[in-house]
């Protein structure tokens, strides 16, 4: 027998895609059993899975997909669907999913599928004959009219990207050297190298981009199951599937988005009765959307449920001693929403197995922040809640402002830079040990980079002030001098728990500059 173990990863990857496709189509079928396109697509995916499992030598998977295929075949041939057929198909899908994951992890735990088989066996088969493969194959080839693709592991792309980054760093050094020689020939050739390197960089970056649909398609199923479990009626709408994001960002936000959706269904949307009483449609609405906004992608989860009750949130926060009663009375709405991110705060009255254990939203916030993004919450009592995740397009390259402090250099992500202003020592005031300065009509807190980072040196005159914005709050950072603006390649910093820094980058001269995490800097 041929050793197929080397194809395991590929098998798992492809199987997951097929499962996702089945899941998507089953959801369509649930609403409209007559939808032949969805039925055929499901059938094809199941059939492919069956052949793949047979080739790889996974008999359980082969058998289960075979049973599913039989059920689907009945439907395809116009058989009368019995009550609960789609649910049964979903159940089979879960079985397949478990089997695929057990292949992925290498565990030998096999799910108990006997009851499932029994139910599947009860569906009368139209004809016991084997499904004609030829027709299926023909249909399959119709679908593959898109340009051919190859599957490349992300680590290979990462390696390529590292090389390209290195190349562009070398290029910058070359440009610096070239500028010393007044040679037209040399200038021309370096300009060409410059252009090609930039293009190469763009192309490689493009390879990492993936439509968010890849992630979003996994959610309708979860929302469906959850709404059934909680006895709620939910219309789940997905918008902007085609928006692209760095594959790594996508993988990272999976849990966060799932958590928000769970919250929306479990806590946001009311039970049908309650909704009717409130004069709303019995069916709740949850909208998951992605929009491109300049350098960012905004992924938002919106529901038309009961909204966040500010007073209740305050009360819980005071009870859990996250804020004092005095603080609670003076807080504005935005600040209150920020409390959601505090660890250990959950307003769920009853602990369900779905959510409400007090872990969650703080994890969402910290995950998004670690990716260089931010979270915004808006809510209206009785009308619903909207949670927006502002995510960077890619975590690899960002625009940054380079600043110097004494002999050291730091990069500030341009996203958070609001303005650069000149401030004299006389403009500064001190309130309770905190330096402040007047900016337009506002008074902003001021931090001195030299002081906060203990930069050695004695040229302590006040330099330009970079006004930064972090989740709608402004403050000023005093730097030594401005060195310019450039695109930098973000590399993660191994030194642990340095919340002041979002990473580091390698500059044109080969030295390392740290990237400031503006939010972490002030909270530090």
């Amino acid at each position: 027998m041929v050793d197929v173990s080397q194809y395991k990863d590929l098998f798992v990857d492809e199987s997951r895609e097929h499962l996702q496709c089945i899941s998507r189509n089953l959801l369509t079928l649930e609403k409209d059993l007559e939808n032949t396109d969805a039925l055929n697509e499901t059938f094809r995916a199941v059939h492919t899975l069956k052949s793949m499992a047979a080739t790889m030598g996974f008999p359980e998977m082969e058998e289960l997909s075979h049973e599913m295929e039989n059920v689907l075949d009945v439907l395809r041939k116009g058989g009368e669907p019995e009550e609960g057929t789609v649910d049964l198909l979903f159940e089979s899908l879960d079985g397949l999913d478990t089997l695929v994951e057990s292949v992925a992890t290498g565990e030998t735990v096999k799910p108990d599928l006997t009851s499932l088989y029994k139910k599947l066996g009860n569906i009368p088969a139209a004809k016991k004959e084997e499904v004609e493969l030829s027709t299926v194959a023909a249909e399959g080839s119709d679908a593959g009219s898109a340009s051919p693709t190859i599957r490349v592991g992300i680590e290979k792309i990462q390696a390529l990207q590292n090389l390209v980054e290195e190349l562009s760093i070398t290029k910058m050094s070359l440009l610096q050297i070239t500028s010393k020689y007044a040679s037209h020939e040399l200038d021309e050739i370096t300009a060409t190298i410059d252009r090609h390197t930039s293009e190469l960089q763009d192309r490689v970056l493009q390879m990492r981009m993936f439509p968010v649909g890849y992630l979003f398609d996994t959610f309708p199923r979860a929302v469906r199951d959850l709404s059934k479990k909680t006895g709620k009626e939910v219309d789940f709408i997905v918008v902007g599937k085609e928006i692209e994001l760095d594959r790594l960002v996508l993988d990272e936000i999976n849990d966060a988005v799932l958590h928000l959706l769970r919250n929306a269904v479990d806590h946001g949307i009311e039970k049908p009765e309650a909704r009717k009483n409130a004069g709303k449609d019995a069916k709740g609405k949850v909208i998951l959307s992605a929009i491109r906004e300049g350098n960012h992608v905004v992924v938002s989860v919106e529901d038309d449920g009961k909204g966040i009750v500010i007073e209740e949130l305050k009360k819980v926060a005071v009870e859990r001693e996250i804020i004092t009663p005095e603080e609670a009375s003076t807080m504005n709405d935005a600040d209150v929403y920020e409390l959601l991110s505090a660890p250990g705060l959950s307003t769920a009255r009853e602990i369900t197995d779905i959510s409400g254990r007090g872990v969650g939203f703080d994890v969402v916030t910290s995950k998004v922040k670690s990716l260089g993004g931010s979270v915004r919450v808006t809510s209206e009592k009785g009308r619903g809640t909207n949670i927006e995740l502002h995510l960077p397009l890619t975590i690899a390259i960002i625009k940054a402002l380079l600043v110097g402090v004494e002999d050291e250099r730091y990069a500030i992500p341009l996203d958070s830079v609001h303005e650069i202003v000149a401030v004299g020592e006389t403009d500064l005031k001190s309130v309770e040990g905190q330096e402040i300065f007047g900016y337009r009509e506002h008074v902003l807190p001021l931090v001195r980079l030299k002081k906060i980072l203990d930069v050695p040196g004695d040229k302590d005159s006040i330099g330009p002030v970079v006004v930064v914005e972090i989740t709608d709050k402004f403050f000023g950072i005093v730097v030594g001098k401005l060195l310019g603006q450039q695109e930098i390649v973000v590399k993660s910093l191994e030194v642990k728990d340095r919340k002041e820094f979002a990473g580091a980058t390698i500059l044109g001269d080969g030295t390392v500059a740290l990237i400031l995490d503006v939010g972490g800097l002030v909270s530090a």
Partner: protein, 162 residues
């Protein structure tokens, strides 16, 4: 026993380096390269023994000042100073040492794993054992403890001293 030749005897290969006047060794299997000291970027607010980060051909590596790590007095970087780039549990990091001297094979039978006899100020958690080569004693360093684990320990110690 007489039939056993040197080639058959199980040996381990170590990169030998110097700190003060003591000789240390790290398993060559964990070492990626030995680099001359380039510009090291300071990481503010990091533990004292973290010298900073360097650019290692397009990748970042954290550099540990091994003298400080072991509690010795630190010393100016000179032309003998080297950064030994090691890989431990998937992370590449550098160790700033006074000098990297040689690569040495030490028979396993000459490695003492209970370094009771060692008279060095280093906390024992950093040590894997002691290799005897002639009349030289080579202190074998446990890389796992140099970077990760003890960062916490160090912090805790500071707490206690407060």
């Amino acid at each position: 026993m007489e039939e056993r030749t040197l080639a058959e005897e199980e040996t381990k290969t170590f990169v030998i380096f110097r700190l003060r006047d003591e000789e240390f060794g790290v398993d060559v299997m964990n070492i990626k390269e030995i680099a001359k000291v380039s510009t090291i970027t300071r990481v503010p607010r990091s533990p004292d023994f973290i010298e900073g980060v360097i650019n290692l051909r397009g990748c970042l590596a954290t550099v540990v000042n091994l003298r400080k790590r072991f509690g010795f007095l630190s010393k100016e970087i000179d032309s003998d100073s080297r950064i030994i780039i090691a890989e431990c549990e998937g992370n590449a990091f550098g160790m700033l040492v006074d000098a990297a001297t040689e690569v040495l094979k030490i028979p396993v039978s000459d490695i003492e794993t209970t370094p009771e006899m060692v008279t060095t100020a280093i906390s024992k958690v950093h040590l894997k054992g002691v290799g005897k080569v002639g009349d030289r004693l080579i202190i074998l360093v446990d890389l796992k403890h140099v970077l990760a684990e003890n960062e916490k320990e160090q912090e805790e110690k500071k707490e206690v001293y407060k």
